[in-house]
C-alpha cells in the first residue's frame, strides 16, 4: 500500500514491522517525530513493545544495551548532541556484539548550536564499531530499517546498525511510500533468536574485562566481522529484492549512469537525490557524468567503489562533514581506497551543506566543473 507519509513516520513504520520488544526513547530535534510515532503505535495497541521513557540519550542507549543483552530486539533513535552523549556506550554495544538498530536523524553538532542537517554527528562515531547506512528517501529509510535488523542479527555479524537519514532535509519530508505488509516482513525477517543472552537460570557474564593478552583479539575479531559484513549486507539487499522487488544498488553503494561515465559525483544521503537531477541535466549537455552513492560508510566498501570506477577520470566527493584540520571524511576514505591502485582518478573534496545549508543543483554543478582542474578541498558556501 502506497501512502504519502513523513520520512520519520516511514522509519517508525519500519520499526513497527520489525516488532522490537523494547524501545528506550529520548526526544531530540529532528529525530523526535520517530519516537513520537512509535509512542502512538504503542498507545493505540498497534505495537506491543515496551517503551522506556529515559532521562537522557546516555540512558537510552544503555537501556537498549541492557534489553538487547537479555535477548530482546531493541530500537532507539537520536541525533546530534544526543548521539554525542551516547558516544561512550556506542563502543560498548558494538564490543559486546549486541545487534541494536538505531535511527539517526543527522544533525550538526554544537557550537554554534544548530538544529539543522549535516553528517557530523554520525561521522564522528565512525570508529565505534557500528555499521552505518545512509539513506536518501523515505522509502529507503523504511526498507533499510528492516534490512538493518536482518544484517545486525545475522550470527556472522552481531553488530549494531545505525540507519542515518538527513535531519529535516529527509526526516520532515512527506512523500509517497510503499508500506510493506506485516506477513511479508515476518517471512523476510525471522524472530530474533539470540546466540547468547542474560538469563538467571543460565548465568553468563557479558562485557567483562579484556586484559592486554586478549583485548586486541577482541578488537580484531570485531574488525574482521565488520569487513565480512560487506557480504551479508549484499546478501540482505538481494534477499530484500527477491521478497519486495526493490533494492538499493548492491546494498553498499548505488550508482546512477556510471557505466559509461568519465566523471563521478560521490555523496551520501539526500545530496545523492539532488545529484541525480544534476547528472540528468549534465548528460543532456553531453557530459559523461554519473553518481556514486555511498550507502554503507562502515563497513567502507572500497572494492565495490574501485570496481565501478574503471573508466572514471575524476571523482568529486561531496562531504556534509569536516574533520577539522584535515578534510571531509568521505574524501579521505575514497582517496585512501585508491592509493594502491595503479590507475587512480583525480579525486577532489567539497565541503557542503553544513548546519542545514541547502545543497543545491548549482553546488553539485560547481563541484563537477572543478574536478576537471586542481585537487584541493574546497568549500561550497
Amino acid at each position: 500500500m502506497k501512502k504519502v507519509i513523513e520520512a520519520s513516520t516511514a522509519v517508525a513504520l519500519g520499526v513497527k514491522l520489525c516488532e522490537p520488544g523494547v524501545i528506550p526513547m529520548y526526544p531530540i530535534t529532528p529525530q523526535t517525530h520517530i519516537v513520537e510515532r512509535l509512542a502512538d503505535y504503542i498507545n493505540d495497541g498497534l505495537l506491543s513493545s515496551e517503551m522506556i521513557h529515559v532521562e537522557s540519550e546516555h540512558s537510552a542507549i544503555s537501556a537498549a544495551l541492557g534489553a538487547e543483552a537479555m535477548g530482546v530486539r531493541t530500537f532507539t533513535a537520536t541525533a546530534s548532541q544526543g548521539l554525542a552523549l551516547m558516544h561512550e556506550i556506542l563502543f560498548v554495544v558494538a564490543g559486546m556484539r549486541l545487534p541494536v538498530v538505531m535511527a539517526v536523524a543527522n544533525r550538526a553538532l554544537s557550537a554554534p548550536i544548530n538544529i539543522w542537517n549535516d553528517h557530523q554527528d554520525s561521522i564522528s562515531e565512525r570508529d565505534s564499531g557500528w555499521i552505518q547506512l545512509y539513506v536518501e528517501s523515505a522509502q529507503e529509510a523504511l526498507d533499510t530499517i528492516i534490512q538493518a535488523y536482518k544484517i545486525a542479527e545475522n550470527r556472522k555479524v552481531l553488530l549494531p546498525v545505525m540507519v542515518c537519514l538527513d535531519g529535516f532535509t529527509l526526516s520532515h519530508v512527506y512523500e509517497p511510500v510503499d508500506i510493506l505488509k506485516q506477513e511479508d516482513v515476518n517471512k523476510f525477517l525471522p524472530q530474533y533468536n539470540p546466540l547468547f543472552k542474560l538469563d538467571p537460570k543460565k548465568p553468563i557474564t557479558m562485557g567483562p574485562i579484556g586484559f592486554p593478552n586478549t583485548y586486541m583479539e577482541f578488537r580484531k575479531q570485531t574488525h574482521d566481522t565488520m569487513l565480512d559484513s560487506i557480504n551479508i549486507i549484499k546478501d540482505v539487499n538481494n534477499q530484500f529484492k527477491e521478497s519486495f522487488n526493490r533494492s538499493y544498488g548492491n546494498g553498499l553503494i548505488e550508482t546512477y549512469k556510471i557505466e559509461d561515465a568519465n566523471y563521478a559525483i560521490a555523496a551520501m544521503g539526500t545530496a545523492c537525490s539532488t545529484t541525480r537531477v544534476v547528472v540528468d541535466e549534465l548528460r543532456k549537455q553531453g557530459k559523461k557524468v554519473g553518481l556514486i552513492k555511498i550507502k554503507s560508510f562502515r563497513p567502507f566498501p572500497k572494492q565495490e567503489i574501485i570496481s565501478c570506477c574503471k573508466n572514471i577520470k575524476g571523482i568529486a566527493v561531496i562531504d556534509r562533514n569536516i574533520s577539522l584540520g584535515n578534510e571531509g571524511a568521505l574524501y579521505t576514505e575514497l582517496r585512501s581506497a585508491f592509493y594502491n591502485q595503479n590507475k587512480k582518478p583525480i579525486i577532489k573534496g567539497f565541503i557542503a551543506g553544513l548546519g542545514g545549508r541547502d545543497i543545491t543543483p548549482d553546488h553539485i554543478k560547481t563541484a563537477f566543473k572543478k574536478i576537471e582542474n586542481s585537487s584541493d578541498t574546497e568549500w561550497l558556501l
Binding site: 504519502v4 538544529i115 532535509t169 539526500t270 539532488t274 543543483p361
Partner: protein
C-alpha cells in the same frame, strides 16, 4: 514538475496545507513531495511550507527558490514578507483576502488571484481556519489537484485524528471556497 510555496503564520497550519496537497496529488496519480521551512516554529511568526507535484518521480531535495505558485494564507504577511520572492514570471499568486487583486499594489507580471477564505471559514467553522479552505482555491485555479482527491486527502488526514465532524467541516469549507473561486 510544479513547485509551490505556502506562506502562513505559525499555528495557521501551512505545513498541513502542504501535506494535504501532497496526499491529494498522489490520489490524482501524481508524484508529490512536501516539507516545511526547517526550523523553530513560533506561534504567529511568518512560516513557510513547500510542495512539489510532478508526473514523474521527484528526485530533487533542495529547497524551492523559484516557485511556480505561491499561496498566502494571511494577507497581513504582505506587509512584512516578500511573498513574491523568486516567483516565476507569470507565476500564480493566490492570496486569502477580501480585496481585489488590483487593490494589492503588486505591480508585477504575476497571475494574482484573491479569495476571501476567512469569511467562508468563519461561517463554517466559526473560526478563521483557512489552511484547508485555501486548497479549494488552489484546486480551482491551478487544476493541479482535483476536488475529489482533496476530499479524500482530508479524510485520510483528519478522520482518525480529529474525527468525522471536523473532516466534514473541512470538506464543506474546501468545496465552498472552490465554488466561490473564479
Amino acid at each position: 514538475m510544479i513547485e509551490i510555496r505556502i506562506h502562513g503564520r505559525g499555528g495557521q497550519g501551512a505545513v498541513t496545507t502542504g501535506q494535504i496537497m501532497a496526499i491529494a496529488a498522489f490520489y490524482d496519480n501524481k508524484q508529490s513531495q512536501t516539507f516545511p521551512m526547517f526550523g523553530v516554529e513560533r506561534s504567529g511568526a511568518p512560516v513557510q511550507a513547500f510542495a512539489r507535484i510532478s508526473d514523474e518521480k521527484i528526485n530533487i531535495r533542495s529547497q524551492i527558490y523559484n516557485p511556480d505558485i505561491v499561496i498566502v494564507l494571511d494577507a497581513s504577511l504582505l506587509e512584512t514578507v516578500d511573498v513574491t520572492s523568486g516567483l516565476k514570471e507569470k507565476g500564480t499568486l493566490i492570496i486569502n483576502t477580501n480585496k481585489k487583486p488590483s487593490d494589492l499594489n503588486i505591480n508585477r507580471n504575476f497571475n494574482i488571484r484573491t479569495v476571501d477564505a476567512t469569511s467562508i471559514a468563519l461561517k463554517i467553522f466559526g473560526r478563521p481556519i483557512v489552511n484547508t479552505p485555501m486548497l479549494g482555491a488552489f484546486s480551482k485555479i491551478t487544476k493541479e489537484i482535483s476536488l475529489n482527491s482533496l476530499t479524500k486527502a482530508i479524510d485520510e488526514t483528519f478522520l482518525k485524528t480529529k474525527g468525522k465532524k471536523i473532516a466534514e467541516l473541512n470538506k464543506k469549507a474546501i468545496t465552498a471556497v472552490y465554488n466561490q473561486t473564479k
